[in-house]
């Protein structure tokens, strides 16, 4: 056996430098770190906008439908990468273009459409797998990912697509942010709100397809939503929030890859767990901070301005 592999299998020596050197001596781990970095940056940026636009459901659906795309591609003998992108982009177009309902509840119709797209796409995935009649292992691979099996060619493809998506976002970013924060005013100022929303869904679809090649269709959502949600707990400023989201995303992916390398548990579990812990810390810290500030403000007030429970302790506040 390769001495590097046997050294890695022996377990960590709990010396960060030695452990890191041993881990990065393995080519598949280097590729996993490269792919993870690209994917983390892209998911953090697009996810931040997704959380701001409250399109988590659409994002999750676009992530999940890359699975039937890949299953169809494998069944037809095409490259799975093509299938991932075809599935997500087709679903993004369907969600964007299905007319909203006639009755005055467009939001409920929208969520019904998204839900139906998701379930139908997954049912198609089950059909393609059944038609292919192949290995069931490939299903779990498509759904839960293969972080550790990324090839050099895939890394290059990931970089190219990520650069393209980020370039599109750089062009439409400013008007998109305006349209997101206040759609009515943006429309009045002549911003093409509807076109931007379709474009953003396509960007979201490409991102979901890209990320799902690494994390699997079911766990894309963790990388999309968690760093962004944590960043938005910390700051509401766009530039700082985006930067923080990227930092969180990179931290989550790097930490998960390192931990997963030395542990028997899957990468997807570590990504979602570390991401969720980060979100909990951010949300808890924010809640504690607001409470502390409020208490500080109370202390500085005069007795006449105090809130009733501060004035009558033990009666109202008990």
């Amino acid at each position: 056996m390769n001495p590097l592999v046997s050294a890695a299998l022996a377990g960590p020596v709990l010396d960060p430098v030695v452990d890191l050197r041993r881990m990065l001596a393995l080519h598949f781990m280097v590729n996993a770190f490269r792919a993870g970095t690209v994917v983390a940056v892209l998911a953090a940026v697009v996810g931040w906008l997704m959380v701001l636009r409250r399109q988590s459901f659409a994002g999750h659906t676009l992530a999940v439908v890359s699975f039937p795309g890949a299953a169809a591609a494998i069944w037809l003998g095409v490259s799975a990468t093509v299938g991932y992108f075809a599935g997500s982009i087709a679903a993004a177009l369907v969600i964007a273009l299905v007319p909203r309902g006639a009755a005055g509840r467009p939001r409920s119709q929208e969520s019904a459409v998204i839900g139906t797209v998701q379930a139908f796409a997954l049912a198609c995935g089950a059909l393609f797998v059944s038609l292919y009649g192949g290995f069931l292992d490939s299903i779990t691979g498509l759904l839960f990912g293969s972080f550790l099996g990324v090839s050099d060619g895939q890394v290059i493809a990931l970089v190219v697509v990520a650069a393209a998506v980020l370039a599109v976002l750089a062009v439409i970013g400013r008007p998109l942010l305006f349209a997101t924060v206040d759609g009515g005013v943006a429309a009045a100022r002549g911003v093409p709100v509807r076109v931007l929303s379709v474009l953003f869904l396509l960007v979201l679809g490409c991102t979901a397809a890209e990320v799902s090649q690494v994390t699997g269709a079911l766990l894309v959502f963790a990388l999309l939503v968690m760093p962004a949600a944590a960043a938005q707990q910390v700051t509401a400023r766009p530039v700082a929030g985006l930067a923080l989201s990227v930092v969180f995303g990179l931290g989550v992916v790097w930490a998960s890859l390192s931990v997963a390398f030395w542990s028997p548990w899957p990468v997807g579990f570590w990504v979602s767990t570390i991401g969720f812990a980060l979100y909990l810390v951010a949300a808890g810290g924010r809640a504690a901070l607001t409470r502390w500030r409020r208490r500080g403000a109370d202390g500085r007030r005069t007795a006449g301005e105090r809130r009733p429970e501060a004035l009558l302790p033990g009666v109202v506040g008990a």
């Binding site: 959380v51 409250r54 988590s56 459901f57 999750h60 659906t61 299905v98 007319p99 309902g101 006639a102 009755a103 005055g104 509840r105 467009p106 939001r107 409920s108 119709q109 969520s111 019904a112 459409v113 998204i114 839900g115 139906t116 379930a119 139908f120 997954l122 049912a123 198609c124 089950a126 059909l127 059944s130 069931l136 292992d137 299903i139 779990t140 759904l143 839960f144 009515g184 429309a187 009045a188 911003v191 093409p192 509807r194 076109v195 766990l219 959502f221 963790a222 939503v225 968690m226 949600a229 938005q232 548990w265 899957p266 997807g268 570590w270 990504v271 979602s272 991401g275 969720f276 979100y279």
Partner: protein, 304 residues
């Protein structure tokens, strides 16, 4: 005639049709309320929790149903609590269920590596994800049908106040309707539905059984009660047609037959109501609901 004949020809088909009918009815009725409250995302979250629950039970060697229903009910109650606080939205739900799904991935890997004999190839995980209604035994089918009927009875019992509270919670609260308690009841019913539907069409596809018939019904009529019954009827119809297709062509998984039928119905309704709307109020309108309003999306109008 031939339909009843072939259903009774095989015991596994009889159980599938019996359980499938009850499960579809429950999903259709609950789904109607879910769509009315715009909470399909909560159903999405529950479907993934159902997967984790079932896999956790398998990994720990407990009965699958225990984990399935336990996880669904626990998460439904969590959603009810989160929904009470105004700050909780899709992001919170999304973060929680993404983590729960990560746990599911862990349990799947624990289960597949620990039991090298049976189910070690991931078959169990796949059948939880995509359902196995044709594999239900008579006893399982009975339990599932009874639970589904409990859900149906629950929805019917609270239908009137629940629809009121869903359509306009502020007015309902002012009229003395216990909006919070109803919300908890609703989430419990949703959790139970997710559990039984996972047995039929699988954790990943139960969302379609909740969303598609209800979405179609609410495009047809704006009256909540009519939409409720229509949604239940459409779901049951999709179940029957889908099971028949799956029986006639063994390549088609039953879940795809059911979901494919439900989606086809929804698409047909979208096209039909779109055509009816374009014809305008003077043209022939297929339903007696209130007159369809012209496009009221201010964003779209403003952008032109």
């Amino acid at each position: 005639m031939t339909a009843t004949f072939f259903v009774l020809a095989h015991p596994f088909l009889t159980s599938a049709f019996a359980a499938g009918t009850a499960i579809a009815l429950a999903s259709g009725l609950v789904g109607s309320v879910v769509v009315l409250r715009s909470q399909v995302f909560a159903g999405d979250a529950l479907s993934h929790v159902a997967f984790t629950g079932a896999l956790a039970a398998l990994a720990f060697g407990v009965d699958l149903r225990l984990g399935l229903y336990g996880a669904c009910l626990a998460f439904a109650l969590l959603l009810a609590v989160l929904g009470r606080r105004t700050g909780a939205d899709d992001t919170v739900i999304g973060s929680v269920f993404a983590w729960v799904l990560g746990l599911g991935a862990l349990f799947l890997s624990v289960y597949t590596t620990s039991s090298s004999g049976t189910g070690g190839d991931g078959t169990a995980g796949v059948s939880v994800l995509f359902g196995s209604i044709l594999g239900l035994s008579g006893g399982q089918a009975l339990v599932d049908s009874l639970l589904a009927l409990v859900v149906v009875a629950g929805v019917v019992a609270v239908a009137r106040p629940l629809l009121f509270a869903s359509l306009d919670p502020a007015v309902a609260a002012a009229r003395g309707v216990p909006v919070r308690a109803l919300s908890t009841v609703f989430f419990v019913l949703l959790g139970l539905t997710a559990g039984v539907a996972t047995q039929a069409v699988g954790a990943l596809l139960l969302l379609g059984l909740l969303a598609a018939p209800a979405g179609a019904a609410q495009r047809c009529t704006a009256r909540p009660f009519r939409a409720l019954w229509l949604s239940g009827a459409l779901a049951v119809g999709s179940m029957w047609v889908g099971l028949t297709i799956a029986y006639l062509d063994p390549v088609v998984p039953p879940s795809f037959g059911i979901l494919g039928t439900a989606t086809t119905v929804y698409v047909a309704v979208i096209v039909w109501t779109g055509v009816a709307r374009r014809r305008g109020p003077t043209g022939t309108r297929p339903f007696r609901g209130p007159a369809p309003a012209p496009a009221t999306d201010p964003v779209v109008d403003g952008a032109r």
